[in-house]
Amino acid sequence: MIELKNINKVFEVNKNNKVIALQNINLSIDDGEIVVLKGASGSGKSTILSLIAGLSKPTSGEVIVDKKHIAKLPDNFASIYRRDNIGFIFQKYNLISTLSVSDNILLPLIPLNLDFDELNSKLDIVINRFNISHKKDSIVKNLSGGEQQRVAIARANINNPKIIIADEPTANLDEKLSLNFIEQLKELKSLGKTIIIATHDPLFFGLDFLDREIAINGGKIVL
């Protein structure tokens, strides 16, 4: 369960220039929910994702995930929390195009120095689930858009995280790929993941398998 309590986030661009990104945000998300944060660019929805992922810290307030106060964690522990609990899907996939599919998917696990067999078994689970095993050793830049998408999703799932976070996942995609992505989301939901998507793509609005839509505007939740 994810809780944001009385969150305020202020960015100091310089001494005289402060940007208020979030104001008094209170939010809870239950396990297994799939939630969409709607809002225009700059509304603050990406900041909320950052906070949940432990990538940034609030100026005041608490971020509690599974009873853990992650805002107070020192950097190394925040990263470990993120690695174990969060799967990130970025706007432009952000894969390393010169590496192979397997290398990209295993990227989050490199620092762990796991056994070769353990790594391979984790890899096999995700590449089979997301239908990319036939291209296991191909270099990413040679893949089609849809295949790259699946690699990105596979990478987000390699450590079997409980929470999937997607920041504008369809911003650069055509309609076909966007719809593809939505299908993948259904798959993820069936695995019991908690999914949080920040987007202003109308394709997401009103979908029946979404549990909630939360509108954000000017750093505040619009009721």
């Binding site: 100091e12 810290k57 609030p58 100026t59 005041s60 805002a71 107070k72 964690l73 020192p74 950097d75 190394n76 522990f77």
Partner: protein, 319 residues
Amino acid sequence: MILSPEVLTIFILNILFFIFGTIAFFLSVKIYLGWDNESVEQSQYKLEKQSFLTATIIKYIFAIKVPLFLFFIFTLDKISNVLVGAMCGAGVVDATPYGIYLFILKIINLYLFAYWLVLHNEDMKNEKLPFTKMKFGFYSIVYFLFIAELVIEGLMFSSIDIDKMVSCCGTIYSSSSTSYISTIFSLDSTILLVLFYGTFSLIILFYKLKFRYIYAILNILFIIISLITLIAFFGTYIYELPTHYCPFCFLQKDYYYVGYILYTTLFLGTFYGIVIGFIDKSKLEIEKSFKKSLIFNLLYVLIVTVYPVIYFLKNGVWL
């Protein structure tokens, strides 16, 4: 003034150490004064980032210090070829008043830096970062000893006069010389051996009892008594010469470099032993340190005992 390439290398690295060590010092003081684990201010996050830089610098300095120390010993050996009268590093150390202090200081610093590393590792394992303030405060103090070492090293090398004759280890450590070291060697070897094996037995005893603090203190004593007995007794069996008292010569090729093994095992054994008394670790970690300490100390005692025993078996008499 000795201007050999080896000495210049040491100087260059010392300058680097000085620059980065001082950066680490300023950061350490800043962090020590301003650290507040509970704070959510920007300033605290900045400090957290800077703590990584400081820790990295200290880690790198230590990582290079160790091979540099070895290199230092090689250099002393090489210089002994140019100094009239010196047969090994001992003569070079004795050539200036700084030599022996530099040596002791270097060894102490190795222990201190290694201790800092253990402290740092324990700190990073815990979400609360319990030792951060302490480790940087500790470094702030160690810094001064570190700088002292660099300065004295510079002084020592620049004041070596190649025209001046120096004594060989034979005269420095013999019982007829006037230095205070010689008074130790005039002690009866039986007493020394009793102290040595006695301390070691106590170490085994307190290992079984798992009394941390007494174990740590015993290890400190063990360093001292081991060094003394090494020079006064065991060394003579390595050299097979009853009058050859020298802590350097057995580092040379002629003795199969056994000196390095001896000093390394002694360092590791006593280091892990001392660390137990000074850092609060989890039970598992303490167990591991106890074990490592005992193993290395045991190795040291075994190797060092082997020499007189073999001598006796070969020759039927003691030296």
